[in-house]
Subunit: 554 residues, 2 copies
């Protein structure tokens, strides 16, 4: 549980001091206590530097249940770049309360490479996700209320496309029936909750450049279809203004500090398996204005966060990564190369490690295809042997990519200096970004291109429902939207148990959703839950607080 690994001895600096270290003053901030602040949006216009900071995209191989330490490595890397005398800001997503109270634990790094104050960041932070929840749920209430009060838009209650949201792992709310009870004029209908970070409102918050665009995008959310099959948008219900109002503070990036008192911006939190999976573009742009190197974490492996960063974020914003970092652990490589049961993975030998390289090789190939130079970063664990490390290093050399050991967890910036040096070196040799698909490709084609080139699928199988939504997309004239693939993070395929580098598999697209506010098409592959559940022994059972307000893990 990462939340307890917070180094209690770290003396936090006042957030105004952190702000000053990146050229901001107190007037640029809205303080949230002494250690958190929102940064005013006019900083985007006010601050000008010689050139914009370079974006370093941190990704990984397919994650395993152990956790690969991607956030820890990203934080350590940014601290190390600062240590080398450059300015660097790490930008991360805001942790969702659901997984924090569920199985995942914190999302604020670990050991000597953390963002702080960890508990506050992991809990309500500055309230952004709650604001997203409220904006989403206002829209949902507005739809049912519209039907209740006469339904002048002629909305078909069986064709409502949005769901209510909650920032909680609550499986019982996945599939529900609403509108029951006596004397109800409104519709009784099937509905369900998604976790707030999977909502389109969260994606919109993260893809908007300013309040005006935010409001416009919110207005463009496809809410429902009428009985005569016409699309109904949020703007038809006239609540997009109030939704934007609810997000007026949430749109401002949040400034915190790393365990070495460098600046970190944490803003927006779309999941990477079901949404586009990286922090807000406002946060990235602001960090570019204020530093030389922006270390951005994209969720999960190159097949998810990195692919979507390039094909959605870069395409829409012109923010191109200057280099990538692929985080690996020997444990995760062995896991991918192991054919036996997955306990005691560290006892696995060189064979498993060698076989596990297949997974890494695909991620390297993916990043190369997208035109990204990279460093493979081994997040080193105490029981990693020198021969294992040198095997990984020589594999990378054969692949023609850089390799560095990171001991950021134990040593902070000092443990990531080699990584930082190599990143800076390759970031100067940036190549042109290659999109996996083009705007004019039909959506079906876009999905196939991602599946075949990035996942290594043989082909794609679309369900009937998916095919009919593809038809609808053509009718709605939104074929130019990029696709946001929703897929398990554990495998390059849509089957979580297919580790390593699966081949000859068919990707199943079970459902396609239109996120016309976010401006992308979501393709749901395999069994992807948009509302997680709690395990039997979940984190909240162990979280406690003493009478003085200290967090306990019991």
């Amino acid at each position: 549980m990462k939340t307890t690994s917070k180094p209690q001895e770290v003396k936090l600096k006042h957030i105004v001091e952190i702000a000053q270290s990146i050229g901001l003053d107190e007037d640029d901030l809205e303080l949230y206590g002494k250690y958190k602040a929102k940064i005013n949006l006019d900083v985007l216009e006010k601050k000008t530097r010689q050139s914009e900071g370079k974006v370093i995209l941190v990704t990984s191989i397919n994650p395993t249940p152990y956790g690969e330490g991607k956030t820890t490595t990203a934080i350590g890397l940014s601290m190390a770049i600062n240590r080398l005398g450059f300015k660097s800001i790490v930008t991360l997503r805001e942790p969702s309360l659901g997984p924090y109270l569920g199985i995942k634990g914190g999302a604020t790094g670990g050991g000597a490479s953390q963002v702080l104050p960890g508990t506050d960041i992991n809990l309500h932070f500055t309230g952004d996700i709650h604001a997203v929840t409220a904006a989403n749920n206002l829209l949902c209430a507005a739809v049912d209320n519209h039907i209740y009060h006469g339904n002048t838009l002629n909305i078909n209650p069986k064709a409502i496309m949005i769901k209510r949201a909650m920032d909680m792992n609550d499986r019982a709310l996945r599939n529900i029936v609403i509108g029951l009870g006596d004397g109800q004029k409104g519709a009784v209908r099937e509905d369900g909750f998604v976790i707030s970070v999977a909502s389109e409102v969260m994606a919109i918050l993260c893809l908007s450049n300013d309040l005006e665009e935010l409001k416009e995008r919110l207005g463009n959310i496809l809410v429902a279809f009428s009985y005569d099959k016409k699309p109904v948008y949020a703007k038809d219900l006239n609540v997009h203004g109030a939704m934007a109002l609810l997000l007026k503070d949430a749109i401002k990036p949040n400034l915190v500090q790393t365990s070495e008192a460098t600046a970190a911006i944490i803003h927006g939190g779309p999941f990477a398996n079901i949404a586009h999976g990286t922090n807000s573009i406002i946060a990235t742009k602001m960090a570019q204005k204020l530093s030389d190197y922006v270390v951005v974490e994209a969720g999960f492996g190159s097949d998810l966060g990195a692919e979507k960063f390039v094909n959605i974020v870069s395409r829409k914003t012109g923010i191109y990564p200057s280099a990538a970092v692929v985080v690996v652990t020997t444990r995760a490589l062995k896991y991918h190369g192991s054919s036996v049961a997955k306990t005691n993975i560290t006892d696995e030998g060189m064979d498993a490690l060698l076989k596990g390289f297949e997974n890494l090789s695909k991620h390297i190939e993916n990043l190369k295809m997208m035109g990204l130079e990279m460093v493979v970063a081994l997040n080193m664990f105490p029981d990693d042997t020198p021969s294992e490390i040198s095997m990984i290093e020589s594999f990378c050399r054969k692949q023609g990519v850089e390799f560095a050991v990171s001991r950021a967890y134990d040593l902070g910036s000092e443990g990531a200096l080699e990584l930082a040096e190599k990143v800076i070196e390759i970031a100067d040799k940036r190549r042109k970004i290659n999109f996996v698909y083009q705007d004019q490709d039909p959506v079906e084609e876009k999905i196939k291109k991602v599946a075949k080139t990035i996942y290594g699928a043989l082909d794609v199988q679309f369900s009937k429902s998916a095919l009919s939504t593809l038809e609808l997309i053509r009718k709605l004239n939104i074929e130019h939207f990029p696709v946001c693939m929703a897929k398990t993070q554990y495998s390059l395929s849509d089957h979580p148990e297919l580790l390593g580098r699966p081949k000859d598999f068919i990707l199943n697209v079970n459902e396609i959703r239109i996120n016309s506010g976010a401006g992308f098409i979501v393709a749901i592959c395999g069994n992807i839950m948009t509302m997680p559940g709690l395990s039997k022994d979940y984190a909240a059972l162990h979280l406690d607080i003493d009478k003085d307000g200290n967090v306990l893990w019991v």
Copy 2:
């Protein structure tokens, strides 16, 4: 719509300056931007004054759809007491987002007597209500998850006593079925959402003296009954620690300022028709530590907020009001005395006004019964005539209570000086508080005493369900709990259309709920919704934001 009446010309002072005016310094605060702050709880121990501030309880006659300006009067009164050279802090509840986006508009006063910054207070403020929502929903998810993972506590899914919460007016969530869908091991069952401010967690937050008590109370929430009819509490599910953790900041009172830059504390937001209806006791106690006069608003009329303040808050905490203020308007009095349709109420003549005195007389009687000295405050409107005003004054004189005109809306403190002087005068003549019922009275008896003495009911009719819960209460050995009456605010009875001073009515107790964490029994009288709905033309349709972040009312 009160939100648009914010005087834009008011130049806000930095909240640290406001804090200094009541003897606090920056170290006592957690800033939330420049104009909001949380006050650290150790202020309760640290600050000592000669004597604790006197509590002035602001109540009203039964409200009408027009709004009586109780909050405006409370704010104006506190500003006026400051103007007279004493220290005064006004303490209010936090507005709920649901009604703000619904029909009610803001809850931050109006005209020249407001708490500021109004929009921030009305929106997410410092996130307290969102934290309450999260804590409540964690508990609900924990129950269904427990059943899903084997149900070792043997919980009967048909005997779950808690509901999920959302801070939104969403009628479609009142009655729902959850747990549907494929492959679900958990229970399919009826459920429903309450608005967050109606949740027991909100009541607990407002009735706890510190974090330790908060956690204990949360643990005592009655969650369900087992198949063998044993009570299951939140502590049996072991999530009360995490719930308290979620509330670690929410428990701290929020400091803002009035439109005359005096201190206001806004904390906790239980509805007064369905919960106990006043700000947190921590807020009141803290204000008592920091000022001479604490002006506390209790929701709705003396039959709701004031009755519950005395019989729940005073009983549990020893905070006794030193005096009461009863806010009236000529419009509201005429409304209560009018026999015709309720449009153009100002055209109604003296007859309606005279007849409306019956409603006021009952509230005066109620406050006297509870041992409270009072001033009747006429919240004056431009079309009030001198003869109307003098009629109200002479009525009050006949009743033996003080009367003052308040023009706080137009003139701020200057308009409430007479009211302030009279309040200060009578606050020195405090009598002993009389509880309406005693701890040892059976719950049934307690309900009857409130109904007969405070509402003027002839008798009480309990539904079958209510009677069986009364039986349960005896078995659980919690007969000593006070009762929290849930009733329409519009009438002294449980029928909103019975205006004036209804007589010979029977109060219907349809349902009784056990809030064993809050430590009271909720008696639901008549048709009381714990989840409001939106009207056809609700506030969110008119709320908007421009590109610079300014709130618009369109």
